[in-house]
């Protein structure tokens, strides 16, 4: 069979960021007129790769060949001019502009500086009709649904003459019906001769609509396959790979009473429902791991428990006491420790010193202050001991927190949160961006706490972390706990299915839905 000349070729693309190689010698072809999916877990490098194609980043090594010619884009405008347009995961729309205004911004049809609204409206109507995109061009973007907003983004790139259209996690924000509509649009685009590349972690959708699929894992290409020739299982295996083995010690502990109960919690954010009827519970002396690809409500769940995000309906109970929507200081006072997922923005106050970060939140406690006086001897003693106990590598505790490496910064957060032997620990993506040593350390600390009888809620996008540490596992997808497994029952393949929506809580093996009985 004669191979059509590739419309886009990536040859040996490598991209590095401080501390991590996002893409490592990535090579792949995109054939003209196909729908090509790029899949992988978080941190696989999918977004970074496509952002380079769209001109937002420049590769450190390698070549991008578009329509047979090597190209170097120095900004998104050049890529658009060449015919490559990207629809981002987080929409770049001006909320209180109309659809029309958003589409034409920067490329306005005008006569001597004066906008030509009729021409604009006609052009957009034509375009929308041609591609079957139903839109009210006079509506304000903030008033239309998320699915419609996405259509506006697609229109934007079509309006500027894009032939290669990249979509980054397009269904992340859509409900199933809207996703169906999107797939119809993609098929129409294909029929009109456009080439579509889309990034996703949802395997069933990918299989439904794409022609070929490339799997990335940890910055490398694992393989490119034809959708018709591959199964979901094979894809999931390629995505997840084999776990690294850590040497973690755990004791035999019988879990006690339910410490935290989350009952049918619903929460909204950004104009849509993020947590849907979410239910699970964590008992003392166990680690409950929530596995899932990022963007399925994990961040919001952690915020809701800690009182940083309002809960619409449902209840959160701590040892039977209702703490729903309680302000953060009160939640913490009931013995909740929190390791936030963004240690730079939520976890630490980077310009302040290590010792200050270690005691922040407890500065008024009797151990550290007497009235208006800070008891420095006592503080330094505690901090030095904590630094030793948590193996923090630093020259001095007077240095600003931002001078520490990621792993050490995380340990400082642990040192702070574990003071007072909390009975409940919420650890959100605790080992993200950490090296192997620090990762092992953090996981062991969580296990130790559990051995001492604490209830630990671990939220992690790293599947093998959840598998190696948790006693029970709940899979979150679309803001809902789809299934729960015990440590013994869980296996990567099955979890992968639930994580990627291949199976949903409505049918399939395993215990469905989160439950209040273990």
């Amino acid at each position: 069979m004669e191979k059509a000349a590739a419309v886009l070729e990536l040859r040996g693309i490598t991209k590095r960021f401080p501390g991590i190689v996002a893409n490592n010698q990535v090579s792949l072809d995109i054939e003209p007129g196909e729908i090509h999916a790029i899949v992988g877990e978080n941190g696989a490098g999918k977004s970074t790769l496509m952002k380079m194609v769209a001109g937002l980043y420049a590769p450190d090594e390698g070549q991008i060949v578009y329509r047979g010619r090597p190209v170097i884009f120095r900004g998104p405008r050049q890529a658009i001019a060449a015919g490559i347009g990207m629809v981002h995961q987080h929409f770049m729309l001006v909320a209180n502009f109309t659809v029309t205004e958003n589409v034409i911004l920067g490329a306005e049809p005008a006569r001597r500086g004066l906008l030509d609204p009729k021409t604009a409206a006609n052009q957009i109507a034509e375009l929308a009709r041609g591609y079957g995109l139903k839109l009210d061009s006079k509506a304000r973007v903030e008033d239309i649904s998320v699915g419609e907003q996405q259509r506006v983004e697609i229109l934007k790139v079509l309006y500027r003459g894009a032939d290669l259209i990249i979509l980054d996690e397009p269904t992340a924000v859509l409900v199933p019906q809207e996703a169906e509509d999107l797939f119809e649009h993609l098929r129409t685009l294909k029929k009109q001769g456009k080439t579509v590349v889309f990034i996703s972690h949802k395997l069933d959708e990918v299989l439904r609509v794409s022609d070929r699929i490339t799997v990335l894992r940890r910055g490398r290409v694992i393989g490119t396959v034809r959708a018709a020739e591959v199964t979901r299982q094979k894809l999931a295996e390629m995505m997840v790979g084999r776990p690294i083995l850590f040497d973690l010690k755990r004791s035999d502990v019988t879990p006690g009473e339910a410490h935290l109960c989350v009952e049918s919690v619903t929460a909204r954010g950004g104009g849509r429902t993020i947590l849907r009827d979410l239910t699970f519970r964590v008992r003392s002396g166990e680690i409950y791991g929530i596995a899932g690809v990022e963007g399925n409500g994990q961040t919001e769940l952690a915020e809701a428990i800690m009182g940083l995000r309002p809960v619409g309906s449902g209840k959160i109970l701590l040892r039977g006491e209702d703490i729903t929507n309680l302000p953060t200081p009160k939640v913490r006072r009931r013995g909740l420790a929190f390791i936030p997922e963004d240690r730079h923005r939520r976890g630490l106050i980077l310009p302040m010193t290590v010792w200050e970060n270690t005691i922040i939140g407890s500065e008024t406690s009797r151990e550290f202050s007497r009235g208006p006086r800070l008891l420095f001897d006592s503080i330094y003693r505690f901090v030095n001991e904590a630094m030793a106990r948590f193996d923090v590598r630093l020259t001095t505790i007077m240095a600003p927190a931002q001078t520490l490496s990621g792993g050490n910064q995380q340990k400082v957060i642990l040192a702070r949160e574990f003071r007072g032997d909390p009975k409940f620990i919420l650890a959100s993506q605790p080992t993200r961006g950490l090296d192997i040593g620090a990762t092992e350390f953090v996981r062991q600390q969580l296990l130790n706490a559990r051995d001492q009888g604490a209830a630990v809620l671990l939220i992690s996008a790293d599947l093998e972390e959840v598998l190696s540490v948790a006693d029970r596992i709940g899979v979150i997808y679309n803001g809902h706990i789809q299934a729960e497994f015990s440590r013994e029952e869980a296996d990567p393949k099955t979890l992968g299915f639930y994580m990627t929506g291949v199976r949903s809580g409505e049918s399939g093996a395993g215990k469905e839905g989160g439950s209040l009985t273990a």
Binding site: G75, M92, A95, E101, L105, G113, L114, K156
Partner: protein, 304 residues
């Protein structure tokens, strides 16, 4: 008390607020907070009076606008190019304006706080409307700048809604990131917004000195630059709303000038505009819709 004279007075007093508030709309819609409007009005007033003294009212008023724009340029460079906190930069402008004007006054006129009396622009009378019962006194023998002020409103609405410039200006104040990815020059747009606000504030000051009082007196702006900001906020960042808010404040000012003998001591009447500003802000901040990126410094290349 509530008669045509009062209304005419209120309008005359509202004019500086309206002009400055409309100018503020240009800056704030592009995403830059301009606290330095008071300072720009002061330099506009002084420059306007001085220019008129030497070269007549037309030139004088133009110089007033230029002076305002120059000071705005300072603010723009500091806050857009150097990403300095916009409030601090604006406050520095106010202090600088106060000093520069005093300095110039002494150097040119040997008086620190006033300029000599100057001529005004020839007054005009709107032909048809001056016959009408209520409107009559308002449009008779009135400074042309009053009409300019009111013409500014529909003009600004038109610019914002129907021109490419207006669309891009607004986009930069709502979502500079999105605008940049589409090729809009965020920096340039914001510069324009700030410069226009400075020129209009200068015009407003020049009006006060040349047309209204007939000379520059230190402190004549009495915080109107800030009241204009509040008027803009009350008007929900839209020209028409700013106009109504400006008229309201103008009315309270007119009130404070007229009510000489009454049960309430005159100081409290004079307080009304300021207290009203606070009340207005307290109410409108809740329901207002500020440009999403207002006051947030933007660094080019944030899109990558």
């Amino acid at each position: 008390m509530f008669n045509s004279e009062m209304l005419a007075s209120a309008i005359r007093l509202a004019v500086p607020i309206i002009i400055t508030a409309v100018g503020a709309v240009y800056a704030e819609r592009s995403g830059v907070v301009n606290i330095g409007l008071e300072g720009m009005m002061i330099v506009g007033a002084f420059a306007g009076a001085t220019g008129t003294y030497f070269a007549g009212p037309y030139v004088g008023i133009l110089i007033g606008m230029i002076a305002g724009a120059l000071f705005a340029l300072l603010h723009a460079v500091a806050s857009i190019r150097f990403l300095v906190n916009q409030i601090v930069s604006g406050t520095a402008i106010n202090i600088l304006a106060y000093g520069v004007v005093r300095f110039a006054a002494i150097s040119i006129f040997s008086m620190a706080t006033t300029t000599p009396h100057v001529d005004s622009l020839p007054t005009i009378t709107v032909p048809f409307l001056c016959e009408m019962p209520v409107l009559g006194p308002i449009v008779t023998k009135v400074s042309p700048l009053v009409l300019v002020a009111f013409a500014l409103i529909p003009f600004t609405v038109w610019v914002l809604r129907r021109t490419v410039f207006g669309l891009r200006l607004r986009s930069v104040g709502e979502n500079p990131l999105a605008a940049e990815t589409l090729g809009v020059n965020v920096y340039a747009m914001r510069y324009w917004g700030v410069l226009i606000s400075g020129a209009l504030a200068g015009l407003s000051g020049a009006y006060m000195a040349v047309e209204h009082t007939g000379m520059y007196v230190e402190g004549m702006t009495q915080g109107l630059g800030f009241i204009a900001l509040a008027a803009m906020i009350f008007g929900n960042w839209m020209p028409l709303g700013a106009m109504w808010a400006g008229l309201l404040f103008g009315f309270t000012q007119a009130l404070s000038l007229r009510v000489v003998s009454s049960a309430i001591p005159y100081q409290f009447i004079k307080m009304i505009p300021y207290v009203l500003t606070i009340v207005v802000l307290a109410i409108s901040m809740q329901r207002s819709r500020m440009p999403a990126a207002d006051g947030v410094p933007y660094e080019r290349g944030e899109a990558t």
